[in-house]
């Protein structure tokens, strides 16, 4: 009876994994620590809107024109919504799960980006890198050069000023089209 049991045990061998002395085998599709590439980030805030537990946050300092992006790994639920919405692939979930820490500060990563000021009124209205990205996308979309130059100029102004510029253009258009007949 006992011998049979010992035989069985020897046949089964050791089930315990060797982790942490050897790396553990992770299943395909394992979602670990979000790996962030600040060079590729355009500070568009899409991830901070998508993040269900608000582990990703973004703050604008309108005095100095700096946008601060930050992630607190202590609140992350590893859902990969940030990876899904990121237009430039700046944040991707890796396979690192060893996040244990003695302090909250070590669980936080921050990145500071410059804001772009409106060429008309001078108010900060978007991240400079996001604006640059949009202009590059316009080039990629293959607009005719004239239209692209026009849009480029318009995008340097804030939405409020853009509306005013549009209004002025409509006024000129109406005056030209009807030649004062209104």
């Amino acid at each position: 009876m006992v011998l049979k049991l010992i035989k069985e045990v020897l046949k089964v061998g050791q089930a315990t994994v060797a982790y942490p002395f050897q790396p553990v085998e992770l299943p395909p599709g394992f979602r670990g620590k979000p790996e962030y590439d600040p060079e590729q980030c355009i500070a568009c805030a899409a991830c901070t809107i998508a993040c269900p537990p608000n582990a990703l946050t973004m703050e604008n300092d309108l005095e100095t024109g700096v946008r601060t992006w930050s992630i607190f790994y202590g609140r992350c639920i590893f859902c990969a919504r940030c990876e899904e919405v990121c237009p430039t692939g700046a944040i991707k979930l890796g396979t690192d799960f060893e996040l244990a820490s003695f302090s909250r500060a070590d669980l936080t990563t921050q990145a500071h980006f410059r804001l772009a000021a409106c060429v008309v009124c001078g108010a900060y209205f978007a991240s400079a890198k996001a604006l640059e990205h949009v202009l590059n996308l316009l080039d990629q979309a293959g607009l005719p050069p004239e239209e692209a130059a026009d849009r480029r100029a318009l995008l340097r102004a804030c939405p409020e000023c853009r509306r005013k510029i549009d209004l002025a253009r409509v006024k000129v258009f109406v005056q030209e089209a009807f030649d004062g007949r209104l």
Binding site: E84, A100, S101, T108, Q110, E132, Q140
Partner: protein
Amino acid sequence: MADYNIKTDSRYAVHPDAAIDSLKGALLKDIQRSAYVYRVDCGGCNGCEIEIFASITPLFDAERFGIKVVSSPRHADILLYTGAVTRSMRVPALRAYHAAPDPKICVAYGACGCSGGIFHDLYCVWGGADKILPIDFYIPGCPPTPPATIHGFAVALGLLSQKIKAGEHIQQDGEASELIFPQIPLDLRVEIERQSRRMAGYWQGKSIAHAYLGLIAATLPDGDQQKAAADLQAYLHAQDDPRLSEIMTGLHATCLAWQSSQ
């Protein structure tokens, strides 16, 4: 039960003590191979509990390191707080803290224990064990997997060193992001990504769309449709997944339809 009133009962307020802090250091050094852990569930979803029990099973075997889960806080060296600390679990959490003998180590376990997690802004939630107790160690994860749990305890007990560090980046001059798949027309990329998400859902959808775009990016500028089809077939054959085959074939049809419409 009037004694446990949150506002009036000072017995349940936590007063960190310098003498106890120095004892804690000694405790961490002494209990390396024999840490008794009491688990306090402060209103979690039980995901963390399942992972804690998974890490004491023979497969992961946390008892290799002397980590033992005990059933009373009076036996505990380490208190493991899971859950976002709901209003009704606040006093039991404090009672467990006061019942454990000094010096004791408090660990916040899981996203909820560390900061309230996805429940952090609920009306009835304190938002993490560190809002009511002096927490010495954080093990994030939702829930932390058994290897993450074992790594956490190994770091807390000084067997391994902490891996994660705070990061800070400041935008440099001339720093610019690169466009993804610049050789693929923008409207084709958007169409492929949308179609892929429709068929495979959010995260898989994006990764499948990008795998497909990576495959056709090499052949699309030349318009060599036969080579593109052959590449796709070879890739799908290597992956050997009928679901992926169906989705990618659908994406390829979308791509061909877009090409012929140009």
